[in-house]
């Protein structure tokens, strides 16, 4: 049974069918790319996967359960986590506090024990602190744990957002244009980071990206969307040479990149 199984989901906004009959499936340890021109419906697919929108038709099964129409926080509880196209960090909180947010839903301490400062409060806080610091160390952000998120350089904000998403302990990580605004050097590092995350955390990763070098180098499977429909699907090599993809998205020159 695949980890993620999307079967013909569609969503309409008024008269516009943003995504129609979108199907895909992912195994436990896949890295899959979702590409296509602006407005093709890539982020809409993410939003349906994470409960921001409810598809008008079709089913989404994750880990054997149907998740279409659940609230975003319930879906996080089912172990799907995401980053955002326009970074959505808690800007006025420190790096460490940003990561700790992800532990709220995983911890159990009741309001009463928080107020009364019962031993369970201290035990849990210590554990959250320890796990958050471990994650920050992995992302080389531990030295900046007390820095406000808004003061981090752009590349580090992207990294922190990934760290925060991983702190929710996902089985599937959705990355929405992780390389946006990065220079080639940073993109190169990101590609390595993505591969490393897959191995280290043993999770599946689905990413939306415009940077073809990144997509081609990390994804095993690529899906191309145009006007809300899948126009091609397959290995990078196949996508690169697909005439429909070249026409709709890549263009002649990129095909030779």
């Amino acid at each position: 049974m695949p980890l993620l199984d999307i079967d013909r989901i569609s969503i309409r906004f008024g008269g516009l069918t943003a995504v129609s009959e979108f199907s895909m499936s992912m195994e436990k340890n896949d890295i899959c790319g979702l590409i296509g021109p602006n407005g093709a419906g890539k982020t809409t697919v993410f939003n349906m996967l994470t409960g921001v929108y409810r598809p008008n038709s079709g089913t989404i099964r994750f880990d054997g359960e149907s998740i279409a129409g659940l609230k975003p926080y319930d879906i996080t509880g089912k172990r799907i986590s995401r980053t955002f196209q326009n970074i959505r960090l808690m800007k006025n909180l420190t790096v460490l506090e940003n990561v700790k947010i992800s532990f709220v839903y995983q911890t159990k301490c009741s309001l009463a024990s928080s107020i009364l400062r019962l031993p369970s409060y201290f035990r849990e806080e210590e554990e959250v602190e320890r796990q958050s610091m471990e994650l920050l160390k992995v992302f080389h952000l531990d030295g900046k744990k007390d820095e406000l998120a808004t003061n981090l350089p752009y590349g580090e904000q992207r990294r922190l957002e990934i760290a925060r998403a991983l702190a929710t302990k996902p089985k599937l990580l959705l990355l929405d244009e992780p390389a946006a605004g990065m220079n080639p050097q940073e993109t190169q590092e990101l590609a390595e980071l993505i591969r490393w995350i897959r191995k280290e955390f043993d999770i599946a990763i689905l990413l939306i990206e415009h940077d073809m070098r990144l997509v081609m180098s990390v994804c095993e499977n690529i899906i191309v969307l145009d006007y809300g429909k899948i126009i091609a699907e397959g290995e990078p090599e196949k996508i690169r040479n697909d005439p429909k993809v070249i026409e709709a998205y890549l263009g002649e020159e990129a095909a030779h990149a």
């Binding site: 926080y73 955002f84 960090l89 006025n92 909180l93 420190t94 532990f103 839903y105 309001l111």
Partner: protein, 315 residues
């Protein structure tokens, strides 16, 4: 644990010391009945401001109807007392009634955001005031009389300390973290697994509880309560306290409440000009607030209550 225990001990010792000094001054007559009354009003206003602070500054939900919960707490406590329940228990029960109302009102209204929420809460506040005006058993528009003056300085002072303690514990916990994440970015908070409605309602209910506590103390201090003293003008006052106090900052909130409670009294000799000078001073204070209202040593003293990383603290 030990670090926390130490801080707690210092805080409690400092509170008791401050109480002892003020009590001694009152006993000596250096603080007269008038000043004593102002001090008590300050304590009540601090409770109110901190409870508003939790909702507005920590959870980021602009409420313009918080005084409704003060009204509910005041009337409930007074009514319960008149049935024959002891003073302390009446105040506690009054707060619980206010919290229940907070929960019931919060559940539907907190689905709204920003200015919509503000207007709706203002509407609820007005509904509560009008309701009380029309319940003759509570004295209706004429107000409720015959409440004994049970509130003394010790009650209000230690209620304030209790409020500071509880709310500072709340904001530094997983629940508080969830509330702050709602303020920062609701969409991101939900994506990180936080049921934002749950924590908004939690903040609202807690806020209502402490507003109810302040209301109960107020009723037994004034010995007379009338619905119009809890209308939205009072709510606006609360918003001014917390906005001036800075975002998510206990010390700033306490300082601004103290100053803004004293100010109208201090301006009393100006007679009619008072209501011209007071708003002007408000404007000036708002403009200067970031640099000047923060008394450094006081901020340091209270820094443990401040949620790290708020932008005004960094300024």
């Amino acid at each position: 644990m030990t670090a926390y225990g130490k801080k707690l001990a210092i805080f409690l010792a400092a509170s008791v010391a401050l109480f002892a000094v003020l009590s001694a001054l009152m006993f000596q007559g250096l603080i007269d009945a008038y000043l004593q009354r102002i001090l008590m009003t300050i304590c009540i206003n601090v409770i109110l401001a901190l409870s508003t602070n939790l909702i507005i500054n920590f959870t980021g939900q602009l409420t313009l109807g918080h005084s409704a919960f003060m009204a509910i707490g005041a009337y409930a406590a007074a009514a319960i007392f008149k049935v024959g329940v002891p003073f302390f228990l009446s105040i506690v029960l009054g707060s619980i009634v206010a919290a229940i109302f907070g929960f019931l009102i919060g559940l539907p209204t907190l689905r709204l955001k920003g200015d919509y929420l503000a207007i709706t809460t203002m509407g609820f506040c007005q509904i509560i005031v009008v309701l009380i005006q029309n319940i003759s058993q509570l004295g209706g528009a004429q107000g409720m009389t015959g409440i004994p003056g049970k509130t003394n300085f010790a009650w209000v002072f230690f209620s304030m300390i209790f409020t500071i303690l509880i709310l500072s514990h709340v904001v530094k916990s997983r629940q508080g973290r969830a509330m702050i994440s709602v303020r920062e970015d609701e969409i991101a908070a939900e994506a990180m697994g936080i049921n934002t409605t749950r924590y908004k309602v939690m903040a609202f209910t807690l806020g209502a509880f402490f507003a109810g506590l302040a209301g109960g103390l107020y009723a037994f201090l004034m010995m007379f309560i009338e619905p119009t003293s809890f209308n939205y003008f009072k709510s606006i006052d609360l918003v001014i306290y917390v906005v001036l106090g800075g975002s998510g900052n206990f010390a700033g909130c306490i300082a601004s409440t103290t100053i803004l409670t004293i100010l109208p009294e201090a301006l009393r000799p100006l007679n009619d000009y008072r209501m011209v000078i007071y708003p002007l001073l408000l404007i000036v204070i708002m403009i200067l607030r970031v640099k000047n209202i923060r008394i450094p040593w006081l901020s340091d003293f209270f820094s443990r209550f401040r949620k790290g990383g708020d932008k005004n603290a960094a300024a």
